[in-house]
């Protein structure tokens, strides 16, 4: 058989080293809108089967919340895989090779607008004209598997780069809020949230319904917070237990609730209003939307496993080492 004019290896090398690719500044080299949007979504794991995110169901048990960092290399490989579709020859490979840095840079910007696209707030064309600034920094988030997700599908989730003191100054909160990149229910009771940056405080807030009255039920016991005359929760105070009627366990013993509140005030909680009328009782029975705060030191959490081996730290940092890079590059050449 006649020998080929060039070998496939030499072709690939020629393709990879040749600079004959179209410059990325040429408008035609830009990704088509649909493709860019698809890859942007992919970057935030939109559409990735849940089993790939949580490979073992025990990693996200019922009624749990797990915080995480997003492995950007993983997301980059997703994009590589997507672009590999229709990549039949060296020409496509060379093209991808030449354009990959620009694609990555562009997607770092595009992924910031994905949430707006998902909520149909803006069109892709608008997003292109008004790109979201960003540098492709750290992405973090959490997975919440709880009945609270199905019960309160519109819960308000926010992350901040500072532990906001209570009561929260909303202006302060706005300046410290991290951009939410994705907030989506993956299943009726599983919520995925992604944030840009490393949060120090995350809160999940019950949706607002105007003024509500009620009690807190924990383990079958009813209690209410101590509130001052402005209905602010008195921080660090012990909750007041709510007695019920012996004849019907769902009926509150309203008079005794009032007595308990008055007693708490007489015992030294002078911020509480004097219980001499219905308005004072109403203030104490107010049920404001519950805002659950999650906060930590932001440091690397202790993480222990019992795996049989302690492997080479993490894959990605190793690859940043220069010798390793040279080694890999040598393999390609």
């Amino acid at each position: 058989m006649r020998a080929a004019w060039v070998t496939d290896k030499s072709t690939l090398r020629m393709r990879m080293t040749a600079k004959a690719q179209v410059d990325v500044s040429v408008p035609e080299a830009e990704m088509p809108a649909y493709m860019e949007s698809f890859l942007g979504h992919l970057r935030l794991l939109v559409g990735v089967p849940f089993d790939y995110l949580i490979a073992d169901a025990r990693l996200l048990p019922d009624e749990s919340i797990r915080f995480f960092y997003l492995d950007r290399s993983w997301a980059d490989r997703l994009v590589d895989g997507a672009i590999a579709v229709g990549k039949t020859g060296t020409r496509e490979q060379a093209h991808h090779q030449a354009h990959a840095p620009a694609v990555q840079e562009q997607l770092d910007i595009t992924e910031r607008g994905v949430r707006d696209l998902q909520r149909a707030r803006v069109s892709f064309e608008f997003l292109r004209k008004n790109p979201r600034t960003g540098s492709g920094g750290t992405i973090t988030g959490f997975l919440l598997r709880s009945a609270a997700v199905s019960g309160w599908p519109h819960m308000d989730v926010r992350a901040f780069d500072k532990v906001l003191p209570v009561p929260v100054d909303m202006n302060d909160a706005r300046t410290h809020q991290l951009r939410t990149l994705r907030l989506e229910r993956l299943a009726p009771s599983v919520l995925l949230a992604l944030f840009e940056g490393i949060p120090k405080l995350v809160w999940c807030e019950e949706p607002h319904h105007g003024v509500m009255f009620g009690v807190h039920e924990v383990d079958g016991k009813f209690s209410i917070f101590r509130r001052d005359a402005q209905a602010n929760k008195i921080l660090g105070s012990q909750d007041i237990s709510v007695p019920r009627r012996a004849t019907n366990h769902r009926v509150l013993a309203v008079r005794d609730v009032q007595r308990n509140l008055q007693k708490a005030r007489d015992d030294g909680q002078s911020e509480m209003p004097v219980q001499d009328g219905s308005a004072d009782l109403a203030i104490e029975l107010l049920q404001l939307p519950w805002r659950q705060r999650f906060q930590g030191s932001g440091g690397r959490p202790q993480f222990t496993g019992v795996g049989a081996f302690v492997p080479l730290v993490v894959v990605a940092p190793k690859i940043t080492q220069e010798e390793m890079q040279l080694l890999v590059k040598g393999l390609v050449k």
Partner: protein, 561 residues
């Protein structure tokens, strides 16, 4: 209320214990008497006018209701919420007397100041199966005879009523003092969108119930009139209790495997302790009671529990936290051991880590990857493969492949790039030959109208320096043909020496081997008109040539004639 009281700012609420009307609904007679004196005599002028102050008594127009919570027909987690009704008339709950003749009596240990006004309304919460609604019932059939008498025996009043077990109603009926505690007045800013209702002055009266809905119960909240209902409202509430140990009466909505037998047994014990009085099953009319309903709505309390308790009960941690160590076993790098079949069909243990990791990782700068195999890694310590990134690659590929439009767009992206790249290649080649008038930026070069630019450049080059025409007869090209190559000819024909082959091809090696030089162009010095005119010999030759041509033409024409 002092006149100086400013309305609350937006987002704020002012709360008041009560708002009593200046006049209670009743029939009033206004007597005007003026003593007029004239002529030293008194002429008193007297006039009498009657008027009625009326208000809702046996029904509440829906327009007077500013809102209810939980919303009408809503389904949601309301088990820790006290239902409430917000009424646009701020004085409504205090417009009528609960008990004019004080049949109920005073509370044994009053907790409210003396003279605190008592409301005549209460919001009662019934669950499905506990009640019967009666529409358009004559009032005398709803309230007991003595109450009807105390109400003034209004004739021809049809009202909506609720009928329920008397014991149940007594169990949940607020005591006299509790009634007062469950009604208040709210003042909000009229511009507040969340709190205010359109068309109102910002003032509302609120009646709250005292009963919490059970989980999963379909509930009916009823605003009932307790005017003169001394038969139901007691001066003191029944005894209360605070549970110290929790006995789960309601089954927890948890995954099936989490239900423990111990809890179920406790549940049974509780059931046994309830004395079942079969005698109560015979229903006699005395055991039912009816109440006038001014307004009613339904909602369903359903859901897993309260937001507060669910959130407080969450298991919080970074990803990789497991309930019991080793289940599943994770490495320090958060890799999970997986069994898989490799492409050879062999069972293999590999490491996998998803995109969610418990610590920050730097980004892999080596990229892009063109195949999943390129992203496979082996761990030196175990020799096992790390397929995390390879798996990511394949997921991305499959997701993209399942989207037909994406494949098209990818093609379009490449095709456009190839097109432009070819243009740039051509431009590079052309630029080597011609001086092209192109912009500096490549992006602009690609979009320049290349045909006219090239044409201009080509014409310019020809005009300025046409250059010699090389290889006029194509011999150089012909010599490149395989058959003209003496070495090949020698090999093919099995000739002994290369000279033989050369001879065969035409002898002289120079025929093909030597470079053919273009002939030197004739020197053409610049001439002027004067120098041409001075060249007599030349002009003479030209004249003779002209004459000769003319002669020839003449001869030719003469022959024709």
């Amino acid at each position: 209320m002092p006149q100086t009281l400013q309305p609350p700012p937006q987002g704020a609420i002012f709360m008041f214990d009560y708002a009593t009307p200046p006049l209670q609904p009743d029939s009033y007679t206004l007597t005007a008497q003026t003593d007029v004196r004239f002529d030293n005599a008194s002429h008193p002028l007297t006039d009498e006018r009657s008027f009625d102050v009326v208000g809702p008594r046996f029904a509440l127009p829906p327009g007077d209701v500013a809102g209810v919570f939980p919303p009408r027909n809503a389904q949601g987690p309301y088990e820790d919420v006290l239902a409430q009704i917000v009424i646009k008339r701020r004085t409504l709950p205090w417009e009528r007397s609960l008990d004019k003749t004080n049949l109920i009596g005073s509370p044994s240990s009053p907790g409210l100041p003396a003279g605190y006004p008592m409301p005549w309304l209460a919001l009662l919460l019934f669950e499905e199966g506990e009640f019967t609604m009666l529409e358009n019932t004559p009032l005398e059939n709803v309230v007991p005879a003595d109450v009807f008498k105390r109400l003034g025996q209004p004739a021809n009043v049809l009202c909506t009523a609720i009928e329920a077990d008397r014991q149940l109603v007594t169990e949940m009926m607020p005591s006299k003092e509790e009634l007062a505690l469950l009604s208040h007045v709210r003042w909000v800013n009229i511009d507040d969108r969340e709190l205010n209702v359109e068309g109102s002055d910002g003032w509302f009266s609120v009646v709250v119930t005292n009963r919490l809905p059970s989980r999963g119960a379909k509930c009916r909240a009823c605003l009932v009139s307790l005017e003169e209902r001394a038969d139901l409202v007691k001066k003191d509430p029944p005894p209360s209790f605070v549970p110290t140990t929790f006995i789960p009466i309601v089954t927890k909505e948890v995954a099936f495997r989490d239900v423990q037998f111990r809890e179920a047994e406790q549940f049974k014990v509780v059931e046994r302790r309830v004395d079942v009085d079969f005698g109560r099953l015979t229903i006699s009319p005395e055991q039912k009671t009816r109440l006038v309903v001014l307004y009613t709505w339904q909602f369903t309390s359903q859901g897993p529990g309260t937001f507060f308790s669910l959130m407080q009960g969450l298991d919080v941690g970074m990803i990789g936290k497991v309930k019991k160590e080793g289940e599943p076993a994770l490495t320090d790098t958060a890799h999970l051991r997986l069994e898989l079949q490799d492409r050879g069909g062999e069972e293999e243990t590999v490491w996998y880590r998803g995109p969610l990791v418990p610590f920050e990782l730097t980004r892999d700068p080596l990229g892009p990857y063109h195949s999943a195999d390129q992203a496979r890694r082996a761990t030196p310590e175990t020799g096992a493969e790390d397929v995390s990134y390879a798996a990511a690659f394949e997921v991305g590929r499959l997701l993209a492949a399942s989207d037909a439009r994406l494949a098209q767009e990818l093609m379009r992206w490449r095709r456009e790039s190839y097109k432009q790249s070819a243009r740039i290649d051509n431009l590079t080649d052309l630029k080597a030959e011609f001086q092209l008038d192109l912009p500096a930026a490549i992006a602009e070069q690609v979009h320049s109208p290349i045909v006219p630019i090239l044409a201009t450049a080509a014409v310019g080059t020809i005009v300025s320096n046409p250059g010699p025409i090389a290889d006029r007869y194509g011999i150089a090209a012909a010599s490149k043909a395989v058959g003209m190559n003496p070495e090949v000819v020698q090999k093919v024909y099995g000739l002994e020496t290369i000279q033989d082959a050369q001879a065969l091809l035409g002898g002289e090696p120079a025929t093909f081997g030597a470079e053919v030089r273009a002939p030197q162009p004739t020197a053409r010095p610049d001439v002027t008109l004067e120098s041409v005119l001075a060249d007599k010999a030349g002009l003479e030759t030209l004249t003779q040539a002209r004459d000769r041509v003319i002669e020839n033409v003449k001869t030719k024409l003469g022959e024709q004639e």
